[in-house]
Each structure stands twice: as C-alpha cells, then as structure tokens.
C-alpha cells in the first residue's frame, strides 16, 4: 500500500513501541491527587473550591478564566486538603489542588454505562458548549483549549478535518491502544467535530506501524460516510501538525500561519475520544491513557487509564520493583518529552506517557566539534539550518536569527538526535527563539 508522508527531511528512529500489544488497564486510585490549575496554554483557571470541601469525580474545581483557558475537574472523590504552589513537571511553581482520596463517587450526570451512543442529538452550539464545560484541551501535548479549535474564526473557512492518530514519538502507544480499543467512539467523536465545524468529511491519519489500529478503523469506516483512513509512513515527526497536513492534503501551512489558513483542522485522536465522551456521555476530562514505558528501567511496561493529578511515582511503582535503577523520568516521549525533576510530579491532561531511563541511558553524550556533515539541515522537517542558528548564537550575531527562520522551528529534536557530534542543536534553536522573541518585543 502506498503511504503518505511529507517530502522535506524527517528521520527514521527506533520507535521502541514495546507496549503496543498491551491492553489498557486501570491504574487505580492513589492516596492523594495533585491537580494543577493550569494544564493548558493560556490563563490558569480560577479556583472554585476551598480547603476542606468534599468533591466527587467530575466536580468542577476551577473555572476557565477567559476564552483561552480550560475548566479543571476533580478526578477523584474526597476532600480538598491543600491548595498551594507546587513545582510542576514543566518546572514552574503552579498552584495545585491537593485532594485526599476517599472512596470513588461520581457526579450523577456522568453516564458510566459501556454502551456506545451513535446518534448525535446536540446542536452545533450545544456541542461546543459541552466541550467547553468538560475542560477539553489538545491532548497531543500542546494543550490548546479545544473549544477555540472547534470554532472557525471569522473570515476563515475549513474543508478538512484530520484526526491525528499518528504517534510518531518513540515508546508511546497511548493513542495506538485507544484507537484499537475505542475505534468506534473515535469515529463518532470525529462526526461530532464534523458537526461542530460544519465540515462533511474527516480523515483519520494513522502511521503504518499500527496495523491493528489501521485494520480496525478501516473496517469500521465503511459504516460511516465521510470518515476515511489515511495510512502514513512511519517517519518522525509525521504527527506534527504542519507535516501531517502536508502529507494528507499536499498543502503547506505558510510560515507564521495556522492550519486554518490552509483550511485544515487537526485534532488528536485522544482529544477526539474525549470529545465523544464529553458530548455523548457527559463525562468531563478527568482521566486519560498514559503509556508508562522504558527499556530496562521499566520491568512491566503498561498502558494505563490514569486519573488526572496522579503522581508519577504511583505509576512508576506499578511497572518496576527497583525504582533506584531509574536515572531519568521523562514526561512524554523520548524525542520531545520533558525530564522531570522529581517522581512526585503529577500527570496532567497532556501527559501522553512516562518514560523511564536507567542511570546509564540518562546521561547525555558529550558534544564535540561540528564536522559540517549537514545532517541537521538535511533532516530538518522545516528546511531550517540548525548549524547556522547555533553558529549565529555562538558568535552573538543575534540579528541573523530572523533571516534563518528560527521561529519556524517546531522543536521536534530531529537535529539533536541525528547530530553525529552530539551538539545540542535543538537547545540552540530554543535559545534562538527566545532571542527572537526578545527582539520582537523591543
């Protein structure tokens, strides 16, 4: 079968998808959950509860503050014991609501039956309202509030909805398992998004290393008009928005523009599933699928269904008996994940995986001199020249950075990965972006 892909750059990495055949299991309830009030891009939510309040699963804890923000719901039932600033995984002191878990009671409105509801009865406005009330954000990692993405800005048109089922990151299998076990729900979710956006068709993009998901989706799609499966090459970063649009539609998002400018909307498969649950089952976003994996450090890697706010250590305990062996804990995949400063950091709506590395693998190799092999430029999916960005920064030629299109960097990390001299090129690009932002502010 011919697979689709983007033409420029991209790397083939060893994906280590060791958990792709492991069914999703419930992670259980920790003793305490730590729910950050900012799990999305934009303003932090306004806290509605107080210390001592009793909450149930699905109780609104914090209200979206403005348009670019998202509601936060309780993921457990119990008592709010503390609200204070705790270091989050993204290294910022974030106010968190600490809840002591007592029992497992749900809000009455949540439909917990396993039936799949196929009829979409709500109107367009009601759907968007329901998505907003459920606190859904882009679960691929960016955390952009979904209600904004489901309303097309004035003067723009959209004709293609792409459901991003490409998990091009190493180790992660959360979306893969979700597509296998909840294929129909995702398709209905896509139909719901179709209705909200006023588009007739949806394309579910899956990369070729997920044969089970592809097969399941393809057989189900025959029943649903307007939903199609596109098989993409297993190449990194195939799941990046701009690269995915290029692969599926052949359109190129202009520099500095958004997908909507080429009439496309991309939603993550996990987000689509959350939309289905919110709209059809009235279930707010309080749990998600997380892959806990690792080569040696994780003895029994697993795909978990995890309540938001569960500390990473609670999950780590379930996959390894020797936590001392762990040298690095990464929230996310091996290419773009954030390495956590401690194991107590809570999982959020955006955590797609927790990757454990042994002490040995945790060390970054020493960098040496650039040998001008140009691999970074050859493999950059955006056609940038990371070596030139690094040189400009080293030589304090900050005015050069704009001309090098530093701001177009998608921070995929292909350059750092491929560099034979192990130069942290992505770090230079990130630093370059900071400098350009500073220049723009002036």
């Amino acid at each position: 079968m011919k697979t689709k892909t983007f033409p420029m750059g991209g790397i083939h990495i060893d994906k280590h998808k060791i958990t792709s055949h492991k069914a999703i299991i419930d992670a259980g309830l920790p003793e305490y959950v730590y729910i950050p009030i900012k799990q999305h891009i934009g303003a932090p939510a306004k806290i509605l509860v107080q210390k001592g309040d009793k909450v149930k699963v699905g109780t609104l804890l914090a209200d979206a503050d403005g348009l670019v923000s998202a509601d936060i719901h309780s993921s457990v039932s119990g008592e709010v014991v503390k609200i204070e600033d705790i270091v989050n995984v993204d290294a910022y002191l974030t106010p968190m609501i600490v809840i002591k878990v007592e029992g497992d009671e749900y809000e009455k409105s949540i439909d917990r039956t396993p039936d799949i509801i196929k009829d979409i009865t709500l109107s367009r406005e009601e759907i968007i309202q329901r998505i907003r009330e459920s606190g859904i954000v882009g679960m691929g990692g960016a955390g952009y509030p979904t209600p904004i993405k489901t309303t097309i800005p004035e003067g723009k048109t959209a004709d293609t909805l792409i459901i991003n089922g490409i998990e091009c990151e190493a180790y992660l299998t959360a979306d893969d398992r979700l597509m296998v076990e909840h294929a129909e729900e995702i398709i209905i979710g896509a139909k719901i998004l179709n209705k909200a956006l006023g588009i007739q068709n949806a394309i579910i993009a899956i990369d070729e290393n997920k044969p089970e998901a592809i097969e399941k989706m393809q057989s189900l799609c025959r029943k649903y008009v307007g939903v199609n499966v596109a098989v993409c090459e297993s190449k990194y970063p195939q799941g990046a928005e701009k690269q995915l649009i290029k692969a599926i539609t052949g359109r190129e998002v202009p520099s500095g523009k958004l997908p909507i400018d080429v009439h496309c909307i991309v939603q993550n498969a996990g987000t689509t599933f959350a939309v289905y649950e919110a709209v059809q089952k009235h279930k707010p976003l309080y749990e998600r699928i997380i892959t806990v994996s690792g080569d040696e450090a994780a003895e029994t890697p697993q795909n978990f269904r995890v309540r938001v706010g569960t500390p990473a250590s609670f999950l780590i305990k379930q996959v390894t008996k020797h936590p001392k062996k762990i040298g690095k804990v990464i929230f996310g995949g091996a290419m773009m994940g954030i390495s956590a400063v401690n194991m107590e950091a809570p999982t959020t709506k955006l955590t797609s995986g927790i990757l454990l590395l042994t002490d040995k693998d945790a060390n970054k190799p020493q960098s040496s001199e650039c040998i001008r092999c140009a691999r970074c430029a050859d493999f950059c999916p955006m056609g940038l020249r990371p070596y030139a960005i690094a040189t400009a920064l080293k030589n304090h030629e900050l005015s050069e950075l704009g001309g090098l299109h530093t701001m177009d960097c998608i921070e995929c990390g292909s350059c750092s990965y491929i560099c034979p001299a192990r130069i942290p090129l992505l770090d230079y690009c990130k630093l370059g972006k900071m400098e350009v932002r500073k220049q723009l502010k002036k």
Binding site: D90, A91, Y92, V341, P424
Partner: protein
Amino acid sequence: MNIILSGVLVLGGIGFCAALILYYVAQKFHTDDDMRVQKIEKILPGANCGGCGQAGCHDFAVACATSDEKSFEKLHCTVGGNKLMKEIADILGYKAVEKAPTVAVLRCQGSCQNAPIKFEFSGLQSCRLATQIATARSECPYGCMRLGDCVNACKFGALKMNPKTGLPEVDENKCVSCGACVAVCPKQLFEIRPKGKDGKRVYVACRNQLKGAQARKNCSVACIACQKCAKINSEIKIENNLSYIPTSVDAEQYGEILAKSCPTGAIVYTGLKKENNQHED
C-alpha cells in the same frame, strides 16, 4: 624607453581614472552628517553594549547631538562614566551632570555550599534554557542557575564563574553597569546599584519569595522576612516574604548594623567583605 613610457602612461591613466571615480562617488553619495555626531562617536567606547538605553554607540551620539540642555542630563554612557560625559558636554557646550558610578550586584548567595545542587543538568549550558525544564539547580526556585549566561553576556569580562561557589562574581573595576547581565538572567538576580563611597554598599542578596521556614530549608542564607532590618530603617520594605533595601539607605551609616542584624546573613555589606573573606579561609 617605450616600455617605461607606456607603463607610466597606463598606470598613471588608471590612477587618474580611479581618482575621478572616487571624486564622483564622494560627491554623489555625500551626506550631511552632523560633525558633532562624528566627534562624539569618536570618543565613545564603541562597545555597542546598550547600557545607555540606545541601540548602539552611534545612536547614543546622535541622541546627544540632537538633545537640548535638559534632555542631555538624562543621557549617560555608563562605560565612559562621568569623565566621558564631561568631554561630550564640552563638545556640545552643555554642562555635564555628575552621576554616581554604579555597578551590577548579584542578589543571590545560593552557592554550592549554602544551597547544594540537587539536579544534574545536561544539555546546552544555558540558564535560560535550563529554567524551562527545571526551576532551579538547588531546592530554592528563585536562586542562581549557575550555568553562566551572564558571564557569556558580559562584553567587558567583568563576570567570572567562581568554581568553588558555583556563582558568578562581579569584578567591580571592570563592570560598567551596562545591564547586559540584568537583561539576560532568567531569575532577575542582578541589579544595578550605586557603587557607594569607597565601594561600600548594602543590599539583600536574596530573591526568594517563599515563607521563612521553607526558604531557610532550601538555602542557609535566604531572606526569611524576619522584619529585623525593617525595624532599623523605615525605608526598608518587606514584600512577598522578601526584604528590599532601597539605594537611598546610607550604606556607611546603616550597612554594618543591618548586616549584623540579619540572622541568616542574607544582607550583604561590602564594607565587611575583608573580614568575611578571612573568616572563610
């Protein structure tokens, strides 16, 4: 003879043509530059550090030349100092205003000894980058990252990493208070303060805004907002669990008392430095 003659003629001809072209170009592209701008630019340090608030030395020269007597008072080249400003004032025919010399101070004492490094960081050694993935190197989320972005930013070689403490140190004699370190530090640890008489300054060398007990747990020289300094001088304000000594507080008069009153040693008085050093040794 012929060869010599033709050689002279050809070379002379080329020279003449080139002279004509040069003359024409000079006429055609002549600009009416303010001579004063050129004069001022000549005596400026030419470091283009941006310490004066202008984009570079040329811009500063233009700003000086176009200023009137009042607005000239606001212009100041921190690198050249009062001596240079006097020269510029002479060129322009204005009166120079003496400004107290300033210096950059690091408001953190979270050294390897006081606040031990907790995380092993690898990647590009840059504070600004490291702050994106880790709040701090030690337990204190407000402390120095110890990766030396300020040292790289300093164009005058005034900053150096002390390998023993892990903190950058300001060389008072080299620092021109251009503010590059202030701008680059992701923790806003640097402040430009008046140098003070005989280099005597007093300031709170801490930026942490945590409550006393937690702050003390994180770092042994943290400001714990105990109010003791505020009782000595009413100008000292405590906000967000952090004391700040304004520059108006007379260092010579209060410096020693303040430094001694501080139970954690977060207040630094440079007049006492020598004793401290001896104590450390």
